[in-house]
Each structure stands twice: as C-alpha cells, then as structure tokens.
Symmetry: C2
Subunit: 294 residues, 2 copies
C-alpha cells in the first residue's frame, strides 16, 4: 500500500456511522491520523477507549485543524451550528463531506459557513443498522452498499474523486446524483418506511395492556421487522423528517391514497384487487435480489 489517501481525517460525530467509518478507514490504512469531535464527552471517551481514533479533542477547532477531510456524521439538525463552529479552523483546501440521509439540507446549512477554497462534497452511504453509538459500529458496514454523492454544481472534481475513492476502498459502490433527486428517492426507499414503522409500533404501544404484551409475544408474524426499523436513532430520524419535509409529505400522500384503496377493497371483499397488488409487489422483491441489495 502506498501513502494514505488522506493525511488527517476528522470525524465529527462518532455514532454508528462515524465509528464504522473510523474503523473502515483504519482497517484500510486510508488516513495517517483519524481524530473525532463529538459534542458528548462520554462518546468521545468511548471512542478513545474503543481505540478507533487517535485523538478526540473536546474542542471542535482543535479537532478539525490540519484535517484534509472532515466527515460530518452528526444528526442533520446539528449541521449548521457545527459548520459555523469549525469553519474558522479548517485547513485551506480541506474537503468537508457528510453521511446524512438528506442532501439539500446540508448544502443549505453548511455551505454558507465554508470559507473559499474548502470543498463541500455531500455524501450518503445507504447503510445502517438499528443500533446507535460508537460501540455499534463495524468496519464492514459499507461493503456492497451504495454511497450517493451530491456535489453542488462547480464542485472541484478532484475533491469528489477523492471522496468517491474513499468509499470505494471501504467496499461501497458510488453514484453521483442531484441533491433534490436524492431526497426524493430516499423519501420513498428510506424515510417513508421508517415513518411507517415508527407509526405502527407506536399504534401497538398504545394498545390496551394485555393486548400490548401479546404483541411482543407474537411479533414473529411480521411485526418484529417493523420494530427493528423503529428502534433506529430517534434524534437522527427526527432531523431527517424535519429536513426532507416536502418529499416525505409527497410520498406519504401517495401511500395514504393507496392504503385507503386497499382498505376499501377489504371492506367490500374485493379479493381480486388484493391479489393483483400482492402479486405485483413480488416483482420488486425479485429486482432487489437481482440487484444484490437483499
């Protein structure tokens, strides 16, 4: 292996994704030094204890100083404040990237704070688990998954290439996409599924006492898959919905119309309508298996 891709990587926010990235970067020797900044002293201490970073300064300026890559891995709602705090300390020519599930918001919240000569390359690894925190991460999380990059028009091509090279080296496929289009695609593939899972688990939580216990006991009939999704990080997901409002509400409206139609078919005993839909949906599953994303 030659010289590392980056001299110093700063991971800002070291939860599931940030800590997986730190582990993957170290496993592949992609950075001379990996440091982290996290607002939580307990999380910083945990990251050091796990031995997944070289340093974890309490001061954001100290953390980003000298980094040629700053990777923002916090909930999206923390971006603006973080960008403002780090901006004066960024090294000239540094790349600022992120892993957030919404991509118009980072351009809106981060780019106004960045000095000239800093390259903003927003990114989104489509990977995760229902677990949170630095101890939940693992180096293989991104293998075989997609990482979508959404550089604003005019972004330095070399900076985009370097970020793409990082993701490919740790096992991901990369794709460049328009930020607005990204937010629309993810609204249906990720944000709406999470919203629905949270809702149905909430509906079950509100059931009368005895029924609620049985929901847990007999969850293997389908419900437990929803509970896994609905165990995802609450703050991260709150921020996703608040920051991709338009696309989520649009997809939710389509979903509600379709659900209402099915509700009517059940009420009126229209078996053919149900069977037709249930047959069509199998094809999408086959597409996912063929695309090796199952």
């Amino acid at each position: 292996m030659g010289s590392p891709l980056f001299q110093r990587v700063c991971i800002a926010g070291i939860g599931l994704i940030g800590s997986s990235l730190a582990r993957a970067i170290r496993a592949r020797g992609l950075a001379g030094t990996v440091v982290t900044y996290d607002a939580s002293p307990a999380v910083r201490a945990k990251a050091l204890e796990l031995g997944i970073v070289d340093d974890a300064p309490a001061d954001v300026g100290q953390a980003v100083a000298g980094a040629d890559l700053v990777m923002i891995c916090t909930p999206v709602g923390a971006y603006a404040e973080l960008a403002e705090a780090m901006a004066p300390h960024l090294a000239g020519g540094a790349i600022v990237s992120d892993v957030g599930s919404v991509k118009q918001a980072i351009i809106r919240d981060v780019s106004p704070h960045l000095p000239d000569g800093i390259h903003l390359v927003p990114g989104h690894p489509v990977a995760g688990t229902e677990h949170s925190g630095p101890e939940a991460g693992f180096a293989e999380l991104f293998e075989g998954r997609w990482c979508i990059l959404t550089p604003p028009p005019g972004t330095d091509a070399a900076a985009v290439d370097k970020v793409a090279a990082l993701w490919r080296t740790i096992g991901s496929n990369t794709e460049v996409m328009d930020p607005q289009h990204h937010d629309q695609v993810l609204a249906i593939t990720s944000h709406l599924p999470h919203l629905i899972a949270y809702t149905i688990v909430g509906t079950a939580t509100d059931l009368e006492g005895s029924l609620k216990q049985e929901v847990i006991k007999f969850s293997a009939g389908g419900f437990r898959d929803f509970t896994r999704i609905a165990a995802s990080d609450p703050v991260m997901w709150r921020d996703v919905f608040l920051n991709n409002k338009e696309a989520v509400l649009e997809m939710l409206q389509r979903f509600t119309e379709d659900l209402t139609a099915l509700q009517r078919a059940i009420r009126w005993g229209e078996g053919e309508k149900l069977q037709d839909l249930f047959t069509r949906t199998r094809e999408i599953r086959r597409g996912i298996i063929d695309a090796r994303q199952a």
Copy 2:
C-alpha cells in the same frame, strides 16, 4: 423413541407451512405415515419428488382415509370446500387441525361440515418466510416460535393435548387462546404489517420509470425489509384479509389516525412530538429481544 404420536397424518395443502410440517413430523418420527393432498398436480408431484411424504393421492377422500390427524395447510379461502369434500371420508375419532392465520373463519367454515366424533382443533404457528411452495419448507421453521391453539368450547381435551404435543415436539411453544382474541392480536402483529408492506411496495411500483429503478437500487435504506414481507404468498394473504376484515379494519383505523398525527407534526415542524414517539418505540423492540422473538 416409542410408538409415533399419530398413525397417519394427512397434510392438506403442501406449500411452505405444510411441507415444513411434513419434514418436521418425519424428522421427529411423529407419524407412521405422512401423506398429502394438494389441489395442484404439480405440487403433489413436487412433494413426492422431494421425498417429504409417503403418498400424494389426487383424491382427497383417499388422502384423508384412515388418517388420525388431518392438518389443513391451504389458504383460508379454500377451507369450506375442502372440509365438505373430506368430511365423508374422515376416520371416526380423527383430529382435524389447521395452520391458518385467522381462527374464527375456520370454525365458521369447517365445523359445520364435520361429522360427530371428529375433533376440530384449530391452530396457528406464528412462523413463516416470504417464500412459497413445497420446496421452500424446512423442518426447523417452527423452532422457538409460538403455536396458538384456539379450540372451540367443549373440544375434547385429549385431542387438544395431542395437537399441542405435536407442536412442542417440533420445537414450538404452545398457547391456548380464544379465537376472536387471536384474530385481534394477529391483526396488529401480522395482518396490518403485511397490509402496510404490500401498500408501500405497491406505491413504489407505481412511481415514474427512473425513480422506480432507483427504489430497487437504493432499497437498503429500509425499503427492502418491506419488500421481503410484501413477497409473501398473494392468495394466502388475500384470504387472510377477507376473513379477518373486522379486526384488520379496526387496527388500520388506529394506524391511520396515528400516521395522520405524525404527518401533521412533520408539516408543522414539531420535532419534539416526533422524537418522543421515536424514543417510545425503542422499548417495544427491547421487549421483543427480551422475549427471544427477535
């Protein structure tokens, strides 16, 4: 091992569940003979080819003749006709059981056809996969899962015990429940999750061409879990919804109210409401993990 629990078991309908049961019964030596009846000649041939049954007659009367246990494993919509066809051929004292996901319907559709001296013990193993057909089954499917028995009042206790012993021997825990209560519990833990999964996958299927391809490509963000559920057997699920209408519509109404409240919270940017729910739903997941149903 002593003498088998049953002399001759007839499995009527040999798809995922029926074939798993045939395999499990044979693996544990629970029956002297295992035969199947299936309306499809191709499925009967497949069951014989797989070597999971001793015989697969084309005639239902021949299949059930001499059986001390007839286990109905067809979609629920086929029960009435099947019960009528088999009734004249049932051996005196035989037990008729089933594996359907709705339990009031079997009592409604099957018991009127059964002669005196036949014991109806409705059952529901809360287990399954998204695959269908006799080749999809496996003997371990029921291990560590619940099987709910819903015998009508006055059912012969020895018959219930024998069916329970069968399920326990192949690895399940058993529970006796009122049929109406069963249908209510399963409406929220199984039927509604399937309905929602089918709906969102259908919503995605209807998206404009390019967006639809990307839904498959980037499904790892949550959507693919729904596609797995929505790949379940279309006829089986059509019949579940048609035969548990009341409970499904009731739970669907609660779900829709909750979803509408969340939709409003997103529209108005009410982050606290979102975070509160997303935090509450984690607890249910912990309950499921503690109950070892994850």
